[in-house]
């Protein structure tokens, strides 16, 4: 089974067929061809499982369980809506629904969402049941909300009806069970005003010319060099940390949803702490700043966040990211994340002063000050 999943992952899911452009700084996920007639592209990024696990758990400390669940459910739902609008766009014909669902859930499985290993669809009762084990992120956070939100949006779209997904898991992470049930209301009605794809999305995210000064690595370089390992839990890991991919909207949507509940300042404080903690672990064996920066530069580039350039003068640091993923939800999350990374590299606190987005050529500049 594991070999089949691995084979599927490489041959069908991500490389080389799914990502048509995988170069330093940019990962472009191309979908389509099988169930629709247009080639759909979206910007993807890789991230560490722990970054979301820690954030979900930290958030639960300031919200009650229900509020936290609702927040992450909305984040998962919104991220999936954007994925649908960018990547899937058209519903498959009804007679293909079962095949489509099977194909999609198998794809999820190979990305680490192993709760979708077994799938059952009852069209009469309008119920979908997913079973598996060891689903990435919620296996550690114990908060399945984000995944459920995503499943509900996906199923609602494909079946053109209103669905709500919840869990009946046992002995987490050993027995995952997600049930998506029809709820009152009809059709798939996302908030298009907020979720609609911005007109310049393609122009900003699919730059043809991405030449860079210096040598930067792509994600496929990490695979070529066997730095990406498939671990015993059927998750991809890099430097002993599980990694997974998402459309690049996720992190902007995290900020968008936190802002809606007035918790932006919490993110500003928490994301750097989490990012610093993870970076400390990744750079444990490195003793000098140059080698730490070199690793950071290559990870950021390989994970699809743009080509990373670093400038320092006295107390200020400017990070320039060439061809980063750009969405209308902003770059704040990544700016805070990079703050934490730099805090780890320099073993010093930083303050984010400004995020500057330049659209021609596409560059994001992050300005930080070292805090004494």
């Amino acid at each position: 089974m594991v070999d089949n999943i691995k084979k599927y992952f490489f041959e069908k899911m991500i490389f080389p067929k799914r990502f048509i452009i995988n170069k330093p700084g940019a990962i472009i996920n191309r979908l389509g061809g099988r169930f629709n007639f247009s080639n759909n592209q979206m910007r993807s990024i890789f991230y560490f499982e722990d970054s979301i696990v820690f954030l979900q758990n930290e958030t639960e400390k300031i919200l009650n369980k229900t509020e936290n669940y609702e927040l992450w459910y909305n984040i998962g739902r919104d991220t999936m809506i954007r994925y649908i609008l960018l990547g899937i766009k058209k519903r498959p014909p009804k007679f293909m629904i079962n095949t489509v669902l099977q194909n999609i859930f198998l794809g999820f499985c190979t990305s680490g969402f192993t709760a979708t290993r077994d799938f059952f669809y009852d069209p009469e009762k309008r119920v979908i049941i997913l079973k598996g084990r060891d689903n990435i992120v919620c296996r550690k956070s114990k908060i399945p909300a984000q995944f459920c939100g995503g499943i509900s949006a996906l199923v609602s779209f494909l079946l053109n009806d209103s669905f709500y997904a919840s869990t009946e898991c046992n002995n987490c992470p050993c027995e995952c069970k997600i049930i998506a049930k029809k709820i009152p209301g009809s059709g798939f009605n996302p908030n298009m005003e907020d979720m609609e794809i911005e007109r310049d999305y393609s122009r900003l995210n699919f730059q043809e010319n991405s030449e860079s000064l210096g040598v930067f690595n792509s994600f496929s370089d990490l695979m070529k060099f066997k730095k990406l390992k498939f671990d015993q839990d059927e998750k991809y890991s890099f430097m002993n940390h599980a990694v997974l991919a998402t459309n690049s909207d996720l992190f902007g949507l995290i900020v968008y949803n936190f802002k809606k509940i007035g918790k932006y300042d919490f993110l500003k404080k928490t994301i750097p702490l989490i990012s610093r903690k993870i970076t400390d672990e990744l750079l444990l064996d490195q003793t000098n700043i140059e080698s730490k920066l070199s690793i950071v530069k290559n990870i950021i580039s390989a994970f699809g966040l743009g080509i990373f350039y670093f400038e320092r003068s006295e107390n200020s640091i400017i990070i320039r990211l060439k061809n980063p993923p750009i969405t209308k939800f902003g770059f704040d999350y990544h700016a805070f994340e990079i703050q934490g990374i730099l805090e780890s590299v320099f073993n010093n606190n930083l303050k984010l002063d400004k995020i500057e987005t330049i659209k021609k050529p596409v560059v994001i500049k992050l300005y930080y000050t070292l805090v004494q």
């Binding site: 860079s212 990490l222 070529k224 690793i295």
Partner: protein
């Protein structure tokens, strides 16, 4: 001197092979490069392509073969400085003095004018058994700069490359063409050369704290090549392929 060629049977035809000079690389390609082949050697700057070619030339010279090394980027002084870093430098220099290894360096202005003559000279010299052109894609960026390429210009270069490869293949020799990896590998400066050669050896490195170098062999016609990559390092012996993957 009796030539010691390796014969393998791929089930259809027996091929004579020329050793690369690095025994572990030979074992990855059933003993060596196929006879009369043109092999591409690509990789980013500083990964070890020129050193690889030194092994290839040295192997030929040891067998008594006449070998030609053409450099289109560096002056001869730089080539000498490169050779001096390795334990095999004395032996290499001896073969140069004996005329078994011929080093020819051309500057940018020169090869723009002489490239056709150069290949005519190679065509006429039947004693050459190993040829290295370092770097091959240089020729074409000088003739037609990348920012000035039009459809007809590109077609004309492809035609020229095909003609050159025909000349090289018609000789009883193996040619190694070094291809500099431009940072954007989809650049037209590659002119589809990987599709036109008989084999590709790719050297690459990854920097994650330390620098790790790997050799990949994505293509080798008429050969059941080793599909995985191998790690290598560069030391005083030159390129040293390490155990394991």
């Amino acid at each position: 001197m009796k030539k010691d060629k390796i014969i393998t049977n791929n089930g259809f035809k027996k091929f004579s092979r020329e050793g690369t000079g690095i025994k572990e690389v030979d074992s990855m390609i059933e003993g060596g490069f196929p006879e009369n082949s043109v092999i591409g050697l690509s990789g980013p700057p500083g990964v070890g392509k020129s050193i690889f070619t030194m092994h290839f030339l040295l192997e030929g010279a040891r067998k008594g073969e006449k070998c030609l090394y053409i450099n289109l980027e560096e002056p001869e002084k730089n080539i000498n400085n490169l050779i001096m870093q390795f334990d095999f430098s004395d032996e290499f220099k001896r073969y140069i003095n004996e005329g078994k290894i011929i080093i020819k360096c051309y500057s940018y202005n020169e090869y723009e004018q002489i490239y056709l003559e150069l290949f005519e000279k190679i065509k006429e010299d039947n004693s050459l058994k190993r040829i290295v052109i370092d770097t091959f894609n240089c020729f074409f960026s000088s003739i037609l700069p990348e920012d000035n390429i039009s459809g007809s210009g590109f077609k004309s270069i492809k035609k020229t490359i095909n003609e050159i490869f025909s000349i090289l293949r018609a000789k009883n020799s193996v040619t190694l063409v070094v291809l500099e990896d431009i940072y954007n590998k989809e650049s037209t400066v590659y002119y589809n050369i990987p599709h036109l050669v008989d084999g590709m050896i790719n050297l690459d490195f990854l920097e994650l704290g330390t620098i790790e170098r790997r050799i990949f062999i994505p293509k080798m016609r008429w050969t059941n090549q080793y599909k995985e990559s191998r790690v290598f390092e560069i030391n005083v012996k030159g390129i040293n392929i390490l155990e394991g993957e």
